[in-house]
């Protein structure tokens, strides 16, 4: 196995319980199962995938193909909170470029990167569907609209 040397800090029985809940659905339980586990662990490790594959009867290669297809599933460690900044048309028209720069400045990282303390991962995300709040970003599940560089600083508590 590649990269199974990661040390896991998560609660294995809790993951087992999630898998058990979705087991009866077989492959149709794959997406919700992976999503629930990831909400717990942050990302999907090879050994989690092996457990899920064995219990839901899904080939391992297929699980990898699925994870790699969906942008909200992660196969590498990410920060505790993922910041998704929208830079599509409606947000661009309302100043998303400035918002994105201030996220970059305050976090000291670029899109796709994670802060050294593991707190944040920054992403430029395709249109998130909150164009009435443009420019906007999501921090985890929280939506923040009408952003300005000042508001970004407040959100990150850097002032």
């Amino acid at each position: 196995m590649t990269e199974t040397t990661e040390t896991f800090t998560y609660d294995y029985p809790a993951i087992e319980a999630i898998v058990t809940r979705h087991e009866a659905k077989g492959r149709a339980g794959l997406l919700p199962c992976l999503q629930e586990i990831q909400a717990f662990t942050g990302w999907l490790t090879p050994d989690i995938c092996q457990l899920v594959g064995r219990r839901l009867d899904v080939p391992l290669a297929d699980i990898y193909g699925v994870i790699d297809f969906y942008t909200l599933l992660y196969r590498e460690p990410v920060g505790k909170t993922i910041i998704r900044v929208c830079d599509d048309m409606a947000c661009y028209l309302n100043g998303s470029e400035e918002v994105l720069s201030s996220f970059k400045k305050w976090l000291g990282i670029g899109p796709g990167e994670t802060t050294p303390d593991g707190k944040y991962t920054l992403e430029v995300h395709p249109c998130l569907g909150y164009c009435d709040l443009a420019p906007m970003a999501m921090m985890g599940d929280d939506v923040h609209g009408h952003l300005t560089p000042d508001k970004v600083a407040d959100l990150l508590e850097v002032k």
Binding site: L31, F69, Y70, M89, Y92, P126
Partner: protein, 415 residues
């Protein structure tokens, strides 16, 4: 007179979206109750009579779909609500899901009864956590109170809903890609035919409708198809939600009948353009849509009226660009969007979205090569003609419309 309506959004912002009693007190579940006293065929007939056109973007007749699934003899059948709204500029389904989630539960139950299904699947966009929370609550509450489950109102009809969350893929709004996703696969569209009405989710006959389409159903059941056809133009009846964004004073969702003009939507409903600016262009239908010029604002925002000027209503997204905008920066984002969201299955889209974005990015930086116009046209037409699904078929729509509406490309002989 601006033809505003208050049908789809009548509860949004008025009642607590988490309260089942508030939903029932405002007339909720009356339509389902009435539906269960009718023959399933009668309901399909009313949807047909209403001339309800699908609100997801493809503008297909809802009644035809319902009738087709009703006719299928294979069992089980499924109903699916497509709440994977991801077209850039579109947020009208989120408005309904967050503001009136019980309505979608009720409409799905009605559709299931009409076509003979007992299981429903609701696939909600992964980036809509609040909508998901409210839907999950609405389904659980409805189940607890007996509006979902076995033998509703002591009839033979049994129905329940499972909610799936998307995981970040625009293409899953395509119905067959959505099925693949629920089935635990990469969200890639299937070849059609066969169509979902015969071979849909898990290979079974499936009725799949967009959120807004379903939201129309309870009122059609309560008031009849004939009533519905009196709302707005005869060919495009019923209320429509428009999601307005970009350079307007009051971006948001507005409900009106489809004789509403773009002018009225921008200036009377959305408050006009801020900062004393003027309209440069309007992108109607999102990234998969078409650009309109300022002299075309008197067009009515209906499926057929837009078609006559070579545009599409799509999902009803209206994005306004003022005269300060460099269109190339917008086009760069449109093409980057498709480059990011192509699923990679069919070659025209897998390769075309990449090459299209590369060339547009270069052009946006002012670096023009001879043959760029021909290359983008060739790529665009190839994607339109030969891609498997609507994503690829529409991936060049906004770009090519921008070229035909505005003189963006330098003439070859000037290079």
């Amino acid at each position: 007179m601006v033809p505003r309506t208050n049908i789809l959004g009548k509860r949004v912002g008025k009642i607590d979206p988490g309260s089942l009693p508030a939903y029932v007190a405002s007339g909720g579940f009356l339509a389902l109750r009435k539906a269960l006293t009718l023959q399933p065929e009668e309901i399909v007939h009313e949807i047909m009579a209403a001339h309800l056109i699908g609100r997801g973007g493809a503008a297909f007749s809802a009644g035809f779909k319902w009738a087709a699934v009703r006719r299928e003899t294979a069992r089980p059948k499924y109903v699916v609500c497509n709440a994977d709204e991801s077209e850039p500029g579109t947020f009208k389904d989120r408005y309904l899901l967050e503001g009136d989630p019980f309505r979608i539960v009720e409409a799905m139950a009605i559709s299931a009864y009409a076509v003979g299904a007992n299981r429903g699947f609701l696939y909600v966009r992964g980036e809509y956590p609040l909508a998901y929370k409210r839907l999950a609550h609405a389904v659980a509450e409805s189940r607890r109170a007996g509006y979902l489950g076995l033998n509703l109102w002591n009839t033979e009809f049994c129905f329940d809903i499972e909610i799936y969350r998307g995981a970040g893929a625009y293409v899953c709004g395509e119905e067959t890609a959505l099925f693949e996703s629920i089935e635990g696969r990469r969200g890639q569209p299937r070849l059609k035919p066969p169509f979902p009405t015969t071979n849909g989710l898990f290979g079974q006959p499936t009725l799949i409708n967009n959120v807004e389409t379903l939201a129309n159903v309870p009122d059609i059941v309560l008031n009849g198809g004939q009533w519905y056809r009196t709302l707005g133009p005869l060919t495009n009846p019923g209320p429509k939600l428009y999601a307005v964004s970009g350079h307007v004073r009051k971006p948001g969702v507005y409900e009106a009948t489809m004789d509403l003009t773009l002018q009225e939507l921008i200036y009377e409903l959305a408050g006009g353009i801020p900062g004393g600016r003027r309209v440069q262009a309007v992108l109607v239908g999102g990234a998969a849509g078409t650009f309109l010029r300022p002299d075309q604002l008197d067009v009515a925002l209906g499926f057929d009226t837009l078609r006559t000027i070579g545009a599409t209503l799509g999902s009803g997204a209206v994005m306004v660009l003022d005269d300060s905008v460099d269109l190339w920066n917008v086009l760069r984002r449109v093409t980057r969007f498709f480059q990011h969201e192509s699923c990679g299955k069919c070659f025209p889209c897998q390769l075309g979205t990449q090459r299209q974005a590369e060339i547009v990015t270069r052009l946006a930086a002012g670096n023009v090569h001879p043959g760029d116009g021909a290359a983008l046209t060739d790529i665009g037409l190839t994607m339109r003609d030969a891609s498997i699904c609507g994503l690829g078929q529409m991936a060049s729509s906004a770009l090519l419309s921008a070229f035909s509406q505005f003189s963006l490309l330098p003439r070859e002989d000037e290079l």
